[in-house]
């Protein structure tokens, strides 16, 4: 994972609540055995009609959606299936952050493990972001804030461990493996 410190981008808004991981990437694309290349299936059944043509009404297909790295989504984003293919698809589609007032547990953990910033903000801030698609935001991981165009700031919480992992591009498995003596002690005590 590459370190993630700060970046700025315009936002893309999907205001629906409860966007589940089946909608982020339908199950029929899960037969892959690699992590890469899933971006083209992101929101597949929203983006493409049954005949395979792009639905030009859908925000992601609009020309100004290009280069939007921040997704503002309705409440309870990422609920449902635990498939990590969902954050993989979003990252591969160019997103680096998703912001909502509520994000499902497993999705959030999966996203952060992969360097996709899954950020929870307060209701009022969330509704402002939903109402202002396309604004340019700056996200600062170290400072734990989102900067609005007028200089105002939205603070977000990240636990110290996740924050440090993101900032340093630290792999959590390295950290776990460094605990080997404790793991062995546990196993011996419970043998």
């Amino acid at each position: 994972m590459k370190p993630l410190t700060a970046f700025r981008s315009r936002t893309l808004v999907l205001p629906d609540s409860n966007i589940d991981t089946d909608r982020i990437i339908p199950a029929r694309f899960l037969t892959t055995t690699v992590r890469k290349g899933l971006g083209r299936y992101a929101f597949n059944d929203w983006r493409y009609r049954a005949d395979g043509s792009a639905d030009l009404e859908f925000v992601l297909n609009r020309p100004d959606a290009r280069d939007c790295q921040i997704l503002i989504a309705g409440r309870n984003f990422g609920c449902g299936s635990s498939r990590e293919h969902a954050p993989w698809a979003l990252l591969d589609a160019g997103f680096r952050a998703v912001i909502s007032s509520e994000i499902a547990d497993i999705f959030r953990s999966n996203a952060l493990q992969n360097g996709l910033l899954a950020l929870v903000v307060l209701e009022a801030e969330h509704s402002w972001l939903l109402k202002h698609p396309g604004v340019e935001l700056a996200i600062d991981v170290a400072g734990q804030f989102i900067e609005l165009p007028d200089g105002g700031r939205i603070l977000f919480e990240l636990d110290t461990f996740t924050r440090n992992s993101l900032l340093q591009g630290m792999d959590q498995l390295d950290f776990i493996l460094s605990q080997r003596p404790a793991i062995e002690a546990y196993e011996q005590a419970h043998a």
Binding site: T31, Q113, L173
Partner: protein
């Protein structure tokens, strides 16, 4: 980057004092009454949660299937790591496997070469790392959350994970069981441990008794309807009360299975005599003189009487009726013949549109195209019996297609021994090989755009059973009754007809 990691680790190790080490006992921590979840959590701490790092939790049982594991094994390969505890790991084929039998030449009708490769990859990975795989030739292959309990691999007091959100099913045995992502599957393979932040606790008390003709599926749909789709987020739910105690293990698994549909991390039911009786004699459970001491250990997995939950709700079992979902998430629940509520927001309007239904009318009477009985929610022997009881001596409506997919090879054998398959076949349903099938519709078993499926599975999201497919979640009895009627109907109507 490497340096940074080492610096961090040095800093972390200074803080790590295992919470379950002797140093902790004798102080306040021992005095405080704990919930069952808290006891399970504490007992599995390799190192406790501190400001700088989540807890490191030891995992007793790790279940694998073909869809969420290949990238995790690839990471192990990349790092040259071995699987730490192959003996604590159990794999099966279920998600992308065909439910039609192999041809005479052994060729299986996979939906795609990719699906075939995915299965081959799990087979290779298991062989390389010495992991038990329930392959096609195994008597025990089946849906991952069905075979764990069936083999007795799932036991009270354990921590159980799987790259699958419905791992919550195993909580029915008083185990702490939850779904993880693929990166975490890699963590558990390599270390048998998982970094976790401690979730909150939610007690759901189900007081009173369930009415006649009302089952575990109706109950959990009712609970999700009350909690809402994110009502359990960040929590482990412990189900308690008379109506829960009265459930069979199959019913308890159905309830715990769908905890995730309320957003909960896990569902939990304390083990009792029903649990022990169900587990006795199963393959991976101690037997002979080892059985009684084992049960004595299991009996200790109970929450303290006066333990405090972060939240508690109470549900009156007598209020539960046969339920169905009308919308596009499992919290959009209604009694079968109650008029549907007017949409309250854009989301519900979208759901009404997608489902092509109208507010003010009940779902009862809506035409049905396909009926699916299966999935880790409702594919066990008792579920199949429940559906067969309705279908016995009847035929499904001419325009309806019905698939019955047992949860495991063992269930399939038992059902056939009882002749249930003949009831299904005589009624005009298809009787398939075990697997996830139309629950996730990634093996080729799916419905056509616009079709309405009454399904005993757990998710009715848009497109879950095929693009544009409309899913109505229901109990096995309701599903079978709908197949016979050809439209959505309260199963109690047919059940009475039998009795009459």
């Amino acid at each position: 980057m490497q340096l940074g990691v080492r610096d961090e680790n040095l800093r972390f190790t200074r803080y790590l004092v295992p919470e379950n080490s002797g140093a902790r006992h004798g102080n306040l921590a021992v005095m405080k009454p704990r919930t069952l979840f808290e006891k399970l959590w504490d007992a599995h701490l390799v190192s406790s949660q501190i400001v700088e790092a989540p807890a490191l939790l030891y995992i007793d049982l790790h279940l694998l299937h073909e869809v969420t594991s290949p990238q995790a094994f690839a990471e192990l390969r990349r790092r040259g790591l071995a699987v730490r505890c192959p003996q604590r790991t159990l794999a099966t084929l279920d998600h992308s496997t065909p439910t039609l039998p192999a041809a005479a030449d052994g060729h299986r009708p996979y939906v795609s070469d990719k699906a075939r490769r995915q299965v081959a990859e799990l087979r290779n990975n298991c062989r390389t790392h010495g992991i038990d795989l329930m392959d096609f030739d195994s008597e025990h292959r089946g849906i991952v959350h069905v075979i764990g309990p069936e083999l007795g691999a799932t036991q009270p007091g354990m921590t159980i994970v799987c790259g699958d959100s419905h791992t919550s099913t195993h909580g029915a045995f008083g185990a702490l069981a939850f779904g993880i992502g693929t990166t975490e599957v890699g963590h558990v393979l390599a270390s048998q441990c998982l970094l976790q932040r401690k979730p909150k606790t939610l007690a759901v008390h189900v007081v009173g008794k369930l009415g006649n003709g009302v089952g575990a599926k109706d109950l959990i749909l009712h609970i999700i309807g009350k909690l809402g789709m994110a009502g359990g987020t960040g929590h482990v739910i412990e189900y308690r009360g008379e109506a829960i105690r009265a459930l069979t293990m199959e019913g308890r698994m159905t309830v715990c299975n769908m905890s995730i549909e309320a957003g909960a991390r896990a569902g939990l039911i304390a083990a009792d005599e029903t649990t022990f009786a169900w587990l006795q004699g199963r393959q991976r459970v101690p037997n002979g003189s080892a059985w009684e001491p084992c049960v004595d250990r299991w009996r200790q997995w109970l929450g303290d009487e006066d333990a405090v939950f972060d939240r508690e709700i109470s549900i009156d079992a007598a209020e539960v009726v046969p339920n169905v979902t009308w919308g596009t998430h499992p919290g959009m629940v209604s009694a079968i013949d109650a008029p549907l509520p007017a949409p309250r927001d854009a989301l519900e309007r979208r759901a009404y549109d997608y489902m092509q239904i109208e507010a003010g009318k009940p779902l009862a009477g809506t035409a049905v195209d396909v009926v699916f009985v299966g999935s880790c929610t409702n594919s066990r022997l008792l579920d199949l019996r429940e559906a067969a009881a309705i279908l016995h001596g009847r035929r499904i409506a001419r325009h309806v297609r019905m698939l019955v997919v047992p949860g495991s090879a063992q269930i399939k054998r038992e059902a056939e021994r009882e002749g249930l398959h003949q009831v299904f076949l005589a009624a005009g349903a298809e009787w398939r090989e075990p697997g996830c099938s139309m629950c996730i519709a990634m093996n080729g078993d799916m419905a056509q755009p616009g079709e309405l499926v009454v399904s005993t599975s757990n998710r009715n999201f848009e497109g879950r059973q095929g693009r544009g497919v409309r899913t109505v979640l229901a109990s096995p009895a309701t599903a079978a009754a709908c197949a016979v009627a050809g439209y959505v109907v309260d199963p109690r109507a047919l059940a009475e007809e039998v009795a009459a």
